[in-house]
Amino acid sequence: MVKEEKMILETDKVTAGYGGVDVLFGASIKIKEKELAAIIGPNGAGKTTLLRTISGVLSPRKGEIIFKGEKLNGKTPRERLALGIGYIPQDDKIFPKMSCIDNLRMGAYTLPREKFSEMLEKVYQLFPILKERRNQTAGQFSGGQRQMLAVARALMMEPEILLLDEPTSGLQPSLVKEVLDKVKDLHQQGMTTLIVAQNREALEIAERAYLIRAGQVVLEDTVEGLLDNDQVIQLYFGG
């Protein structure tokens, strides 16, 4: 079913890790154009490592990463950004000592100067709160505002795919919904999104999900299928 549709991102048997230790062992996923896919799995399974490997922060030891038919192996994060990969890490997703506007300037670091104002207006329309607080130091933002700033920062380059690593981690329940609604809105506007989901709410906004365990993709299913799987839900989201 997946193979028939146009793929934007593929990881083919990717092995990656830190220092001398491998964390991913031949992980393969395929993301369709304009879909919202999720990755779930226990802590230490390799979800963050997979996203880091796709964004170029980490180099794969084995396997291939293909984006829009182009092999990404050996490309720097800057080159991958230029190709259209936007990455929002789980922790330290903003520059806390910079103002909101300077964070957005960093998002547009490689953007031509003349396009900056246009993109700034676009992200301000999506996140009006950021316009109100543009001169405030980002470190003073609440968790939800930090996440919005992180998403806005990534959107400054108009990415074709957004990699979100646990975007609701550490947020209070009311903010979780707010952040996920924004992710859903972006997806409805045509943004391909790959989200690492650590709770049921985050999984529910996706269309399809991969379950990673011990560095390997052990299950791929629609979200409905996964939500019907009591064992998976019990194991990873506590019922």
Partner: protein, 305 residues
């Protein structure tokens, strides 16, 4: 007292420039650059050698020698960074390795200076500098006025570069979160090269100004290394304006402190020249700052204002 303060400001300006070089390396590359001491001397010797070959014309030779020396030291420091520190960065080596490499390089550079230029003190210009009488009878030499002006201009330029240019923002971002900076498109090696070049420029300038106001000697960097260290800590790990203010604090504390202690020593006929022990005041200041304000005298770290 006025004379002590002016001397303190001059000395503080030199210390602040040296400290800025160390701060940049500390914040971006995360190690304290012990080699700052011989680099500072090397910058001064580069300029001295240039001055020997340039014809003298209204001080222009000094400006040319300073510019060439700054660029030359920037290049030498960058080559050393690429040869010694880049492999450590690539391997993700523990920071103790950076400190040890920096410490080892210190002795290599110091030895090279001794071999090439010898142990004798050298001067940019022969003959005593004529002082200008300022307000309250304070005597200031042209070299001291130049030092005060250059430090302020350099700090203002770096401040502008840091907050008004894309590369400066890239450096700020890298100092806060290098991984996030790289996913924003900042090339880490470009930042490392820029940092090392800037550190080279300001370190050479500090050496030249020290040589101009005092003398050029192989161990000149050692004499102010502790002051630089105190200045980096007091300035708040790289706050640009804070570092200049901390430099002034160190300079004035050393000059005024040693001058005030000298008064009772002279009164009681104790033959100790406090000017030789100025560095003890820096040590004391360092301990006080570390105890009461471990994050710096001024609020803020990491290339903040």
């Amino acid at each position: 007292m006025g004379g002590w303060i002016v001397s303190g400001l001059v000395y503080g300006s030199i210390v602040a420039l040296g400290a800025l070089g160390c701060s940049y390396i500390l914040l971006i590359q995360r190690y304290f650059n012990f080699t700052a001491a011989p680099w500072l001397a090397l910058g001064a010797y580069f300029a001295w050698s240039m001055m020997r070959v340039l014809p003298q014309w209204r001080g222009l030779e000094l400006i040319i020698a300073a510019i060439v020396s700054m660029v030359a030291l920037g290049i030498v420091m960058t080559v050393a960074d690429k040869a010694l520190f880049k492999p450590l960065r690539k391997r993700g080596a523990p920071f103790m390795f950076f400190y040890l490499t920096s410490f080892g390089l210190l002795f290599v550079v110091r030895s090279i200076i001794w071999i090439i230029w010898g142990p004798q003190a050298k001067y940019y210009y022969s003959g005593a500098s004529v002082g200008i009488k300022g307000p309250w009878g304070i005597m200031v030499t042209p070299a001291e006025i130049l030092t005060l002006i250059v430090a302020v201009v350099v700090v203002a330029t770096l401040y502008f570069f840091q907050y008004r240019t894309k590369l400066g923002r890239g450096m700020l971002a890298t100092s806060q979160n290098s991984m996030l900076a790289s996913v924003c498109g900042v090339e880490p090696e470009t930042i490392h090269t820029t940092t090392t070049m800037i550190a080279g420029f300001v370190t050479a300038l500090a050496g030249i100004l020290y040589g101009l106001t005092i003398q050029v000697r192989p161990l000149m960097g050692w004499y102010i290394l502790l002051g630089i260290f105190v200045c980096v800590v007091c300035g708040g790990e790289g706050a640009i304006l804070g570092t200049l203010a901390a430099g002034y604090l160190v300079g004035i504390a050393e000059e005024v402190g040693s001058g005030l202690i000298q008064i009772p020593l002279n009164f009681w006929g104790i033959s100790i020249q406090m000017s030789a022990y100025k560095v003890a005041i820096s040590c004391l200041l360092f301990l006080v700052v570390i105890y009461f304000r471990p994050h710096g005298v001024w609020k803020g770290t990491f290339l903040e204002r």
